[in-house]
Symmetry: C2
Subunit: 230 residues, 2 copies
Amino acid sequence: MTRGLTSAERALATLRDLIMGGELAPGARLGEVELAERLGVSRTPVREALSRLAAEGLVEIAPNRGARVATWTVAELEGVFDLRSVLEPQLTAHAVPNATAADVDELDDLARRMHEVGTPGPRQELDALVPLNRAFHDRLVALAAHPTLATALAAAIHPPIVRRNFLTYDEASLRRSLAHHGEIVAALRAGDPEWARAVMTSHIANARAVMVRAARVQTADQVAPREESA
Amino acid sequence: MTRGLTSAERALATLRDLIMGGELAPGARLGEVELAERLGVSRTPVREALSRLAAEGLVEIAPNRGARVATWTVAELEGVFDLRSVLEPQLTAHAVPNATAADVDELDDLARRMHEVGTPGPRQELDALVPLNRAFHDRLVALAAHPTLATALAAAIHPPIVRRNFLTYDEASLRRSLAHHGEIVAALRAGDPEWARAVMTSHIANARAVMVRAARVQTADQVAPREESA
DNA sequence: CAGCCCTACGTTGCATGCAATCGTGCGGGA
DNA sequence: TCCCGCACGATTGCATGCAACGTAGGGCTG
């Protein structure tokens, strides 16, 4: 359907998208039969997909008690940012020598567009920021050409966290974040890996502060473990 | 058998041990029926275990073509050490404030025993070094009390690499490595996370140099993709 | 004689069926 | 009234069977 791959692969990709896209909220129960019907396959590939997602940390499986979308405490969220705070700067530093002028121009373009739609004012469209931000960071990861680091980072990020909290930036933090993107472009253009590493470290620290604060207030209305959000 | 867990869990643990223990050499073919008979279960839990091991990076699965124990190039090995070079120092720094005097004493004991059996001379027993080293590092990981970092590190380490190359230290590198352990204990006792972080960074860099060199020479006699070694 | 196709085997991928386990609601006893 | 025990329903865990894919070998054709 989606591609010529196996059913298990499609189930894996679909479930990942559903979780990362927020359609399956953290804590939502993942019944095998329900998912199998929803995806039009049998329980076997669903089980395999759930298993792999559990290995990735996106779902939690309790033996004989089924799977749920993974939840996390504030402490775990801080742990994730702790991890990012060492991985992403390292990745960024690796990207510097690999970036061509064209690459830098593309990143520059992304940074400028994020600045446009992100700056507070009449033209602000925070929703447009999410895909641009993702594109920017993905581009950096690709430039680093470092599969091991990239895999570790992908496993760590737990995209739902990022996604759910991305719109909670206060104005000052958002301005800092936008400025960081521009500065990373500058560091790339200058070919200075240590500069790039330092900016990315700041970038993550800034995001960490925002998201931990947002998670703290969110835990209040997460008392009832709702089933689904879609 | 092993425990009261599910068959899939046992298959997973068993396969992991077989791979990490070196009984299944990198590149060895992993037929589902063969493994199922060997483990006394059906193909289903074996498939699940293989899937999860693939997610962990220990095996590689080609669709419709089966699974093999993961192999790696020298570049990937360098990538792994790149990852460790940021993760393990961070973990060590986190361990510092959590270490009680008793913890430090235990680590000190391990470091001293490693020094005894590792120092070149009549009493040298390099084989005894492997479990001691592992105990030392595991203890540090536990002290860090940082599940996210610990998971990322465990996923990165690819123990077969470490295991296969551990006995290839030249004398100078080995002396440095043993000294690092003692110095980490000193940093813990002093309660200085930056000191501990710095020593661990050196420790990984030293190991990296040894293992990359060892891997380079090993690739020579790895031309023939042997099936199994046990 | 070389190259290609086609067939047959082995393996993986998936669906289905059955047994075991867990959660839950009800009834009996203290 | 409250608590413990029990049986029912629902769900997971695993085994088996069948279909699809990949691979290797032999025969045919140019």
